[in-house]
């Protein structure tokens, strides 16, 4: 991994929410990097802090949350220390985001063309006519038929899948270096899901755009990502090449997660369940957050495990990883 290729480097990022009932450590000391044109899968259960990680990269963490430490280097520039206006210039231009629910992301009372054109004019001075043409091109790029008509439509006149295509088109408008996709297929029908998935993958490959795909669904990431980060309770517990992690999960949590994917189990046998519940981020257990649900936990785990490099390019936060499977 040479430094030249690195597009985004996150170092020890912490995003905490200061609520009335206590500090919620939604993102707590995470580090990872994304190379140009690469796809990173960010996997975790709901509430594990993966969406907050995404919003941190755009400087869009809502109060009472804020970034309390760490660096987000984008093309070598630290986003955390950027001014509001510097961040704004970056958003949508260099880093774009696609949201989970296409029903909610488009403004219901503005026409599609308004919402697309403003995304262009926010960053460059171009004539409306040109911005409109570019919007239309972007719509046909994501596979929307008769884009001229769609431009004049209101969001409620489009189907869910169509709306998500519009959001993707908006994200592509300014040819960003990085797109953060926050579970963009979760709210869609299964058939539409795979179409959208295919579309995004193809577009990113064609344009050389890097992609961070946030999801709880391992099967989605499996066919898409180059690298994977597994998040649990605000921390990355395991990260590495997708094939390494999925084939030889070392962290007990990753193992449990993979074990609970239906297709990997034999027909008729009971599906594996990770025992216990996701802990509340308000009062995490001392030490390793997964300790209470982990079959391997012992007294060592009462201390928070540091990141340990087991193998080249692979990071873990565990005292008792399943290293034995590497020697099988």
């Amino acid at each position: 991994m040479s430094d030249k290729e690195q597009l985004l480097v996150i170092e020890n990022l912490r995003t905490h929410f200061f609520t009335k009932i206590g500090v919620v450590k939604a993102v707590d000391d995470i580090s990872f990097s994304v190379n140009k044109g690469e796809v990173l899968g960010l996997v975790g259960e709901s509430g594990s802090g993966k969406s907050v990680t995404g919003f941190s990269m755009l400087g869009l963490v809502d109060p009472p949350g804020r970034i309390t430490g760490g660096k987000i280097l984008f093309n070598g520039q630290d986003i955390v220390s950027l001014s509001d206006d510097g961040l704004r210039a970056l958003r949508g231009k260099n880093i774009a985001m696609i949201f989970q629910d296409p029903m909610m992301t488009l403004n219901p009372v503005l026409r599609i063309d308004t919402q697309m054109i403003e995304a262009i004019t926010a960053h460059e001075k171009v004539a409306r006519r040109i911005a409109r043409e570019r919007s239309r091109d972007a719509l046909s790029l994501v596979g929307i038929a008769s884009p001229d008509e769609r431009l004049k439509a209101y969001p409620h006149q489009l189907s869910g899948g169509m709306r998500q295509r519009v959001s993707i088109a908006i994200a592509l408008l300014n040819k960003p270096d990085l797109i953060i996709a926050d579970e963009p297929t979760t709210a869609l029908d299964v058939t539409i899901q795979s179409q959208i998935l295919y579309e995004i993958k193809k577009l990113c490959r064609e344009t050389g755009t890097a992609l961070i795909w946030i999801t709880h669904d391992l099967t989605v990431v499996a066919g898409l990502a180059d690298h994977i980060c597994v998040m649990y309770a605000g921390r990355i517990v395991e990260q590495g090449k997708i094939s390494d992690v999925l084939d030889h999960p070392l962290h007990p949590y990753t193992r449990g997660l993979i074990g609970s994917v239906p297709s990997r189990n034999k027909r008729g046998s009971a599906l594996y369940q990770i025992p216990g519940m996701t802990p509340s981020l308000l009062n995490l257990p001392e030490g390793c957050a997964f300790r209470q649900r982990c079959p391997r936990a012992d007294n060592d785990c009462l201390v928070c495990p540091e990141i340990t490099s087991e193998i080249e390019g692979r990071h873990l936060r565990c005292f008792h990883p399943h290293v034995e499977i590497l020697h099988e």
Binding site: G92, F99, E118, A122
Partner: protein, 325 residues
Amino acid sequence: MIVFIIRRSLQSGVVLLLMSVLVFVGVYAIGNPVDILISPEATPQEYEEAIIAMGLDKPMWSQYLTFLNGALHGDLGNSFVFNEPALKLILQRLPATLELAFGALFIAIVLGIPLGLIAGIKSESWVGRSIMSGSILGFSVPTFWVGLMMIMVFAVMLGWLPASGRGQTTDLFGIPVSFFSLDGLSHILLPAVNLGLFKLSLTIRLTRAGTRENLQLDYVKFARAKGLTNGRVIGVHVLKNILIPVVTVLGLELGSLIAFAVVTETIFAWPGMGKLLIDSIGVLDRPIIVAYLLITVTMFIVINFVVDVLYSVLDPRVRLGEEKI
């Protein structure tokens, strides 16, 4: 859309008819119609003649039809005091009342929406909190007392603004209006603020609630993620979503402004139809009362109707819903 308008107008017609029955029963049946419609100074002979002339010896339903027929032809009887058609008197005063109501609505919108937006965006800061406290107070304090206090402070103590009357008016398409001259403006300012205060509080509340609700929604975050300026996110995306319910409610409130103008007009001696109504109740000039009630009710029904139609024009979602029917 056309089906919707036709259905709505039929509904309005039924309500209007019901109200005319109510007013008729109220004035003609509960009160003694002879006392109401014949000047008290009439001699017994005139009295008898009048009863026959007005058809008061006929059955009730026939009387109602006569009344309705008169009303439809704009004849609601003559005022005892002015000895002129009651309807004409009311209509003469109508522009002044409408001007006051629109002035109040203008103040409520022009101040209320920005204040509500600020209170919604900075809901936790002292600015937001004080705007909210102000609006809660605006809801609790009775309008008429605020009006008195405004006269005390601005007219009596400071002497800045006149306490009563309409001041100089200019004709606009034959209708006298006050907002073209400084004197007229200085006269309308206090009453309009007074009348608008309650609606101002309402606007602030509605806008604040709408802002807070909308700021939580994903489309705001998505708009920010597109790199839009804060001004555009609030001023276009959020505002446009809030405006629809706020404008609808305020439009409906225009009617209640006209009704509440009765109070403000009495305090500030504003020569509108509300003041005429109170004066007429004082001297039992009942044709005027009937005319006022029918005119106001008609205006109400028209306003409700227009707002309903406007709402469906403003909100693309409602519009689509109607097309399907």
